[in-house]
């Protein structure tokens, strides 16, 4: 037990660095939209290869893409993966004449016997004389029509839209290019709730810690535009509303990709030009993608710290089911202290000390204590410390966390009967590890890694308000506030 504690303490020190970035070797530039294959996630960058994660959090090299060139995008259509990438262009090795190609593979796993790229076919090009630079494709399979759209281009001229045949990956016969934006690059298209969104990367690329790269968006009712920003400005005139820019010791957000994990659970992948905690290298970022008033907004990485865990259902707080310990602080100023002038001559008010853990901890049972939801009174049994457990792996956007009562090792845990309790000490057991994801509406879902007695990693059951006062584990439902929680510091 003691040994374990020491390990945990040591790893906690590392957390400050690792909890805020993808773990392992997440080094990439111009990452493609995350693609899932046999339970692993892949992203491909400029150059030849890409990186892989088995759990969504720890990344390693090993993905393979032939053809070189720059800035691929990847999409699964049916049972095949379509890779689209730019060869030359971008001012590299021959000016701004570029071409964009597509190729298919049945798998992304280079070790699979099925791993074989089809011959790449060209779908568009820039001839070097135009205000156009055919690299940086971003692809959208329109969920309403099944049509396959590609935006591409750089600062050297326009962002262009073309249509491909989703059955072949070839250019759709007779399709003509359409200019939809200027002054951005690394664009991507997404669809949400009746709107098409064009995301572009603005600012200075490829200048390390000085890169101002940032991701902006405009939207349209048609995939063919016009894409208008939040002040009514066309992206064809340089418009764009910020989605994500520098912060958290990282600069230069570029090359957006959207991944829908579940209903209401979305992440965006992109790169940082420079991660100050990773030697200023270019790293992969996976952040929650929120939707606010019809606009995509980059969510923050969940930070370690002590929080109220507030139910979206009632607004009550997750707490230990222990006796409420009254604080013996005399009510000041008579009954209620109301009334003008009554206290005019009284001494100035003094701060009241909060209830402390040591004031109450002796009243708590020593074994498992069930969880409950109640009025938030900022009492010790309601304060939860969220700490990353990086050695436990993670999922897209975060490592697993332990959720402990502040100042103690008492940890929230799933039980075999699919309820929730607290155990006196965190042991690292999978039912004590929690997957915390910010939902598109800004709330969070909280999900145990495993439920005792159930096989495999849990992806279904979340911390859930069975009643206003009663937490349980139940199937995630984005439409129900019972599935949702807020982390509040106040």
């Amino acid at each position: 037990m003691k040994v374990l504690r020491n390990i945990l303490a040591a790893s906690t020190l590392l957390v400050a660095a690792t909890a805020s970035a993808q773990s392992g070797q997440p080094f990439i530039h111009d990452p493609s939209t995350l693609a899932e294959c046999d339970g692993k996630w892949y992203t491909f960058g400029t150059g030849g290869g890409g990186i892989i994660t088995d759990d969504g959090w720890n990344w390693h090299s090993g993905a393979e893409r032939p053809g070189g060139g720059a800035a691929p995008d990847m999409i699964k259509i049916g049972d095949r993966y379509l890779c689209i990438y730019g060869a030359t262009g971008g001012g590299l090795g021959g000016g701004h004449a570029g071409r964009i190609l597509t190729m298919w593979n049945k798998t992304l796993d280079p070790k699979s016997p099925d791993f074989k790229w089809s011959e790449a076919v060209e779908v568009c090009y820039s001839d070097g004389m135009e205000d156009q630079d055919a690299i940086d494709p971003g692809v959208l399979l329109d969920p309403t029509t099944g049509r396959l759209w590609v935006s591409y281009g750089t600062y050297f001229g326009t962002i262009r839209l073309i249509e491909l045949d989703p059955a072949t990956g070839f250019r759709k016969s007779g399709n003509k290019e359409k200019d939809i934006a200027i002054d951005c690059e690394a664009s991507d298209l997404i669809y949400n709730d009746g709107w098409y969104y064009l995301l572009g990367t603005h600012g200075t690329c490829c200048d390390g810690v000085n890169s101002t790269y940032n991701i902006v968006v405009g939207r349209s009712k048609s995939p063919e535009g016009p894409y208008i920003d939040n002040v009514g400005r066309d992206m064809y005139h340089g418009g764009g509303k910020m989605v994500i820019a520098a912060g958290d010791r990282k600069t230069g957000a570029g090359h957006f990709g959207r991944t829908i994990i579940d209903e209401g659970v979305e992440v965006m992948s992109f790169h940082w030009e420079a991660d100050f905690d990773m030697g200023g290298r270019s790293t992969l970022a996976v952040r929650p993608l929120l939707w606010k008033n019809g606009w995509p907004v980059g969510g923050d990485q969940l930070k370690e710290g002590t929080y109220e865990i507030e139910s979206e259902r009632r607004g009550y707080a997750l707490e230990l089911a222990v006796d409420f310990v009254r604080m013996n602080v005399a009510r000041a100023g008579g009954f209620g202290g109301f009334g003008g002038g009554q206290q005019a001559n009284a001494a100035p008010p003094q701060p009241v000390a909060e209830q402390k853990l040591e004031d109450v901890v002796s009243t708590w049972p020593s074994g498992n204590i069930p969880a409950r939801i109640g009025d938030y009174m900022f009492r010790p049994h309601q304060k939860w410390t969220i700490t990353a457990v990086p050695e436990a792996g993670g999922y897209l956007s975060n490592p697993y966390f332990k959720i402990t009562i502040a100042g103690t090792d008492r940890a929230l845990a799933a039980t075999e009967d699919v309820e929730v309790t607290t155990v006196p000490a965190f042991t690292g057991a999978p039912e004590q590890l929690w997957r915390i994801e910010q939902l598109t509406d800004g709330t969070f879902r909280i999900m145990p890694k495993q439920i005792p007695g159930k096989e495999g990693t849990n992806t279904k059951y979340v911390l859930y308000s069975a009643g206003d006062s009663t937490p349980t584990l139940a199937e995630y439902d984005f439409k129900s506030d019972n599935s949702k929680w807020n982390f509040r510091q106040h």
């Binding site: 001012g91 021959g94 701004h96 076919v121 070097g128 600062y155 050297f156 200048d207």
Partner: protein, 704 residues
């Protein structure tokens, strides 16, 4: 400035255009062409590769498409019109939708097609009827009674009757309903081995060369009826014909329209039309399937008659017919004529629809491609050509002959990589992207030295020491960015943007990137004097200034942050003679990059000066100057600093605003300096009122 850009490129057929074969993204055979509504409609059979379970070395056709064209070069595929499993009488999955025809009569389009019937027994011929030549065609539930055979052709004769021909030259009259044979057709009894069959109609090829005759196509011209048909003269099919004064004969054999295919393609099948006064022969050949002559493609040639009404024999060509617009993709490998050493072959023997390439093996080799229309090209145009080479070499595109006027000269200097690929040959970053381009398809883009007028012939000549192969050529006009300012004052556009500017040739101002453009840098560098009267001049078009200034030398290799911090720069004194240009921008953003490309010594690492004169009929108060610029810029209204945009900027509409200012009555002078490192420099300027609405009630003067 002449760009020469090399990239790989493999052609993907996107549009169907020009040259033989005319349908380039799928197989097509047995072409029946018809003229409806002044357009040519093409109803071919549709060869496909046999699916699993079908005989792999036999004809395989499951449906029909219809194509149309107004110029015989651009063909539109209107899609599938009749398919085997949606015709009640056709045996499912029989893949026997053979040669069809389509005629217009009494307000309807009648599409005739043979197939294998449910009932068994060889082939029957059915009809599908539509209101438009493109369909939708509704098939009749039963085939035409009395026809047992293939390859229907319907002749609408001047005697008022419709005749249907089929099989090996049999002909019968149709009823007015076009769906049944007439009752008064001749009948005969024919023996097939031990079986006797009653055959309706006349056998028009009886006694004529008719071995394995099929695919009859009949037409009427100058009082004669022509029955044209494929038959086997020796080993494979030729197209022959016979003439008569009556639709149902007797016919007299007259000779060949087309001899056997040189490559042994066993079948040929055809139709003949007159379109806009010219006769054309449509036929087929297995261009996209040289090893399997059951997958064929439609070709077209011009056809001519002799004075006595006989037909001149037609030779198949690669070039085919029609005039190509220079701005379309032209498959020059389908040449009209070439030096004897030129050869053609498929680019890809698997994906044959990538079509052909023509190899010009040595210096002096040439090919000519006839009839290209240059009418839509401006003087500012360029050519894109798909080419590969066995080594560093050069070639020319010329007009009319191998010694004709040079339209464009293309140098292929970077085919062979530097000896040590890792050495920074060609300079740093660029060197790393250099690859072995030998035998790779490249797209060469080059400005034209000379723009032909009208319709002319293109010639490619190999001028260098390596073999080249060409695939296609395409001409493009460059976009227009500016026109000379007109004498009359102009207004801002409806959004308030100012299109009229006096622009000075760019001052060379190397820098290591755009992030160096801090406020202090800009105030320092913009307030230095580059030329006399920098802040007071009201220049005229063509006016020259002498610029003398100290220039800080940036390290070589611009852009994308290759240099984080330039070392202590070397400073040189530079003299430049610069010219002012009075220009009206075609766009809301003034494309300085393209201005520099045309007038400047360099396009990156440049400083531009711009002046415009605004004439206000009255004082306009409380407006703001709204600017977007790539990259940093500084603006002065009537000599007062009004706005500064610092840093690495893009041209964003209304990026930065001045404080509230007043445009005085009469002339106001707006002056700007725009500086850029890497990237495409441009700017947009307008005035906005307190509510953010564009100010447009003034004019912009050309200071003549």
């Amino acid at each position: 400035m002449k760009h020469l850009i090399a990239i790989f490129l493999v052609g993907v057929p996107l549009a169907l255009s020009a040259q033989n074969p005319v349908i380039r993204n799928q197989f097509s055979a047995d072409p029946t062409a018809r003229v409806f509504n002044n357009k040519v409609y093409l109803y071919p059979s549709h060869d496909i590769k046999p699916p699993v379970g079908q005989r792999q070395d036999w004809f395989c056709m499951e449906d029909y498409h219809v194509f149309s064209s107004e110029n015989l070069t651009d063909w539109t595929d209107h899609g599938m019109i009749v398919t085997q499993n949606k015709v009640p009488w056709v045996r499912p999955n029989s893949y026997s939708m053979w040669a069809p025809d389509c005629v217009y009569r009494n307000g309807k389009y009648y599409f005739y097609f043979p197939s294998s019937p449910n009932a068994g027994g060889g082939f029957a011929v059915g009809v599908a009827i539509a209101d438009s030549p493109e369909g939708p065609f509704i098939p009749e539930p039963e085939p035409i009674k009395g026809i047992n055979g293939i390859d229907p052709c319907v002749l609408l004769a001047s005697d008022g009757n419709a005749y249907i021909f089929w099989g090996n030259g049999r002909c019968a009259k149709l009823k007015d309903n076009m769906k049944e044979l007439a009752d008064d057709n001749p009948k005969s009894t024919v023996k097939f081995g031990n079986r006797e069959m009653e055959m309706i109609g006349a056998n028009c090829l009886e006694g004529l060369p008719n071995r394995q005759a099929e695919g009859p196509f009949a037409f009427e011209y100058n009082g004669n009826y022509y029955l044209t048909y494929p038959y086997v003269r020796e080993n494979t099919e030729v197209l022959g014909y016979a003439m008569s004064k009556n639709p149902m004969g007797p016919y007299e054999y007259k000779g060949l329209i087309m001899a056997e295919h040189a490559n042994g393609c066993w079948t040929n099948h055809h139709s003949i039309i007159n379109y806009k006064g010219q006769w054309y022969l449509f036929y087929h050949h297995n261009d996209f399937s040289p090893s399997d002559d059951k997958r064929r493609s439609v070709c077209i040639e011009k056809l001519y008659f002799n004075a006595d009404g006989t037909i001149k024999e037609v030779k198949p060509t690669m070039r085919g017919v029609g005039i190509n617009n220079a701005t379309e993709k032209i498959e020059i490998d389908r040449y009209s004529e070439a030096s004897s050493d030129v050869t053609t072959q498929l680019i890809d023997t698997v994906n044959t629809f990538r079509s052909y390439q023509a190899a010009l093996p040595k210096k002096g080799s040439w090919l000519r491609y006839n009839d290209v229309d240059f009418n839509s090209l401006t003087n500012d145009s360029y050519v894109i050509i798909s080419v590969k080479a066995s080594g560093n070499t050069a070639f020319s595109i010329r007009e009319k002959s191998a010694t004709g006027k040079v339209i464009a000269k293309v140098s292929l200097d970077n085919i062979v990589p530097p000896e040590t690929p890792n050495a920074p040959a060609g300079g740093g970053m660029m060197g790393r992207f250099r690859r072995d381009m030998r035998g790779q398809w490249l797209t060469q883009t080059v400005a034209l030295d000379y723009v032909p007028k009208g319709v002319t012939d293109l010639v490619v000549t190999n001028d260098g020491d390596a073999e080249i192969a060409v695939d296609y050529v395409l001409f493009k006009n460059r976009p227009k960015y500016f026109s000379p300012s007109t004498a009359a004052p102009i207004s801002p556009d409806s959004e308030g943007f100012i299109h009229r500017w006096m622009l000075l040739d760019p001052i060379n101002k190397p820098n290591s990137g755009n992030t160096v453009f801090t406020d202090s840098y800009l105030r320092d560098h913009f307030n230095r004097e580059y030329f006399k009267g920098q802040q007071t001049i009201l220049p005229k078009d063509g006016q020259k200034v002498q610029a003398v200034f100290k220039q800080e030398q940036a390290p070589a290799g611009f852009g994308r942050g290759m240099q984080q911090a330039p070392a202590q720069p070397e400073v040189k004194t530079v003299k430049q003679t610069l010219t002012w240009h009075a220009l009206d921008s075609e766009n809301m953003n003034v494309k300085l990059f393209r201005f520099a490309e045309k007038y400047g010594e360099q396009v990156y690492g440049v400083l531009f000066w711009a002046v415009t004169i605004i004439d206000c009929p009255e004082e306009i108060k409380d407006v703001r100057l709204a600017v977007g610029s790539n990259s940093a810029s500084m603006w002065w209204l009537n000599g007062e600093e009004t706005l500064l945009l610092s840093g690495d900027r893009r041209m964003v509409k209304d990026d930065a605003m001045s404080k509230r200012i007043t445009l005085k009555k009469g002339r106001n002078v707006l002056r700007g300096a725009i500086i850029n490192g890497p990237g495409m420099s441009d700017f947009c300027v307008r005035f906005l009122d307190e509510k953010g609405n564009p100010v447009t009630n003034y004019t912009i003067i050309n200071n003549k």
